[in-house]
């Protein structure tokens, strides 16, 4: 069976290649910092499960030390000029789209086939990770196709990948770090304290205010945690279930479903949701790391208002 572990090995290989090419890149004055950073990530993908929790913790602290103290630079692998790219684009035409589209198409068609045909009964893929595994297969297929069509120099995929990886830099591991922070918050009981505070500010007998505090609390706590999943159990336990469902007799399905979506509005507005908000800004080489959040705020706020109205109107009919 192909499992998530296979993907981790693939990721380990990719990061090892980035690390090795970083180490010999003389255009980057901090090349050993880059080599160590991507090398540690490769090590984490290969051997993370074999390390003790403390070992993994020390690995994380080493990553943070490299990035936090400015030891991470940016390599300048040789690539094509804009002028040459325009010529090549004209020469290859729409052929260029096929490998790019092959990745989502493999993931899409593969997931559908796996879930709705006899193919799924084969047990070829680990159930929980089917789409992600197919994405990995799509990447390999696209890489093979691109190499056959464009005949790039042997190291070009690694070097071009490293060019993008270095432009993302430390932001690449921030989402994983924030997930880890969430675990520490949970362990220290941060959620319980926030829940107590939220529970204390509810006035008696006013449904609308209770709905308002529930939804705003979901959004705000999500902004702090960077993740609606961490906020939901806390707000549901503090207000959603005892006050809205048991106190005012609201519909639990609506309060649960739309409450979660109120949290998603918070996700749109916080740098803590790094994989959605900070990483894309880095990936698009934007000037401000908050450039994506800025464009999302004016969708998030009216949508949060809609969610409050929807809970109020639909849950208490």
């Amino acid at each position: 069976m192909i499992t998530l572990g296979w993907l981790y090995v693939l990721a380990g290989i990719v990061f090892t290649a980035f690390a090795l090419m970083s180490a010999i890149d003389r255009t980057n004055s901090k090349r050993f910092g880059n080599a160590a950073f991507w090398g540690l990530l490769a090590f984490s993908f290969f051997y993370g499960d074999a390390l003790s929790d403390l070992g993994n913790g020390i690995l994380v602290l080493a990553l943070v030390a490299i990035a936090g103290f400015g030891m991470l630079g940016r390599g300048q692998p040789v690539t094509t000029s804009d002028g040459l790219r325009a010529e090549l684009a004209a020469k290859f035409g729409n052929k260029l789209f096929l490998p790019a589209l092959l990745i989502p198409i493999t993931a899409f068609a593969g997931t559908i086939l796996y879930n709705y045909t006899a193919f799924g009964g084969s047990g070829l893929f680990e159930e929980r990770w089917v789409t992600l595994i197919l994405l990995g297969i799509g990447v390999l297929a696209a890489l093979a196709l691109a190499c056959i069509w464009f005949r790039p120099p042997a190291l070009a995929p690694v070097e071009e990948g490293r060019r993008l990886m270095d432009s993302i830099g430390w932001a690449a591991v921030l989402p994983q770090m924030l997930a880890a922070l969430g675990a520490v918050f949970a362990l220290a009981g941060v959620g319980d304290v926030i829940g107590q505070i939220a529970g204390n500010v509810i006035p008696e007998g006013n449904v609308f205010v209770a709905v308002l505090i529930y939804a705003l609390g979901m959004a705000l706590f999500t902004m702090i945690m960077g993740n609606a999943f961490a906020a939901f159990p806390v707000m549901a336990a503090a207000i959603g279930i005892p006050v809205l469902v048991q106190g005012f007799g609201g519909d639990p399905a609506i309060i649960g479903a739309i409450g979660m979506l109120a949290g998603f509005c918070g996700t749109l507005m916080t740098p803590m949701a790094a994989n959605f908000n900070i990483v894309p800004a880095a990936l698009l080489e934007m000037k401000s790391q908050y450039g994506v959040i800025r464009m999302q705020i004016w969708t998030a706020i009216p949508l949060l208002a809609c969610n409050i109205a929807l809970i109020y109107w639909l849950a208490f009919r």
Partner: protein, 235 residues
Amino acid sequence: MNDYLVLSGILVVIIGFALKMNPLLVVTVSAIVTGLLGQLPLIEVIEAFGKAFNDNRYISVVWIVLPVIGLLERYGLQQRARTMIERIRGATMGRLLLLYLAFRQITAALGLTSVAGPAQTVRPLVAPMAEAAAEKTHGELEEDERQQVLGMSAATDNVGLFFGEDIFVAIASILLIQGVFQSYGYELTPLQLSVWAIPTAICAFFIHGSRLLLFDRRLRRRPRLPAKSSPEPRA
């Protein structure tokens, strides 16, 4: 009162981000402060931090697409994406992103959340197409307008994902809601929950969609900037 001390970690995060310190450093300091004030020994905090980091490696697996995307960029993918949009009559940035929003919401609602994303689709295709469409209809973009087009491309990807995925019955957040309510004795089915994601999905489409079309209109209203003198396409 003593309980509130564990919230100091949140304060560390807010101050750290506001001062634009390195987020990895901020997050780590916050974790240590929170853990220590929550009466946990330092070693235990580091262990919890390391274990959660290891358990969440799947988040970073997506970077394996970079070699393919970079390779295609080397042979002119972004330039080709721009040319294609320039040839489609009636294509504007707003309409293009509106179409992408619908695509992202529908595929996410079918449970296909990783078919698109910032690395898979936004950087190689959506952002260069949106930029080309904006330049085609509105002339050369000022730098801050260009930044807004890029930001809007990534924003549209997020809005489509967030407000589509909960319509799918087997997504993690639906299972979490179900689990939480179950522990209080409320038996809800995933389908019962996922249908109530539909009203918000519709609101999200209309709110974000109208913002996209308004963005088009705002660009159209300002005087057209002179075209760049060099015929070279931009990176």
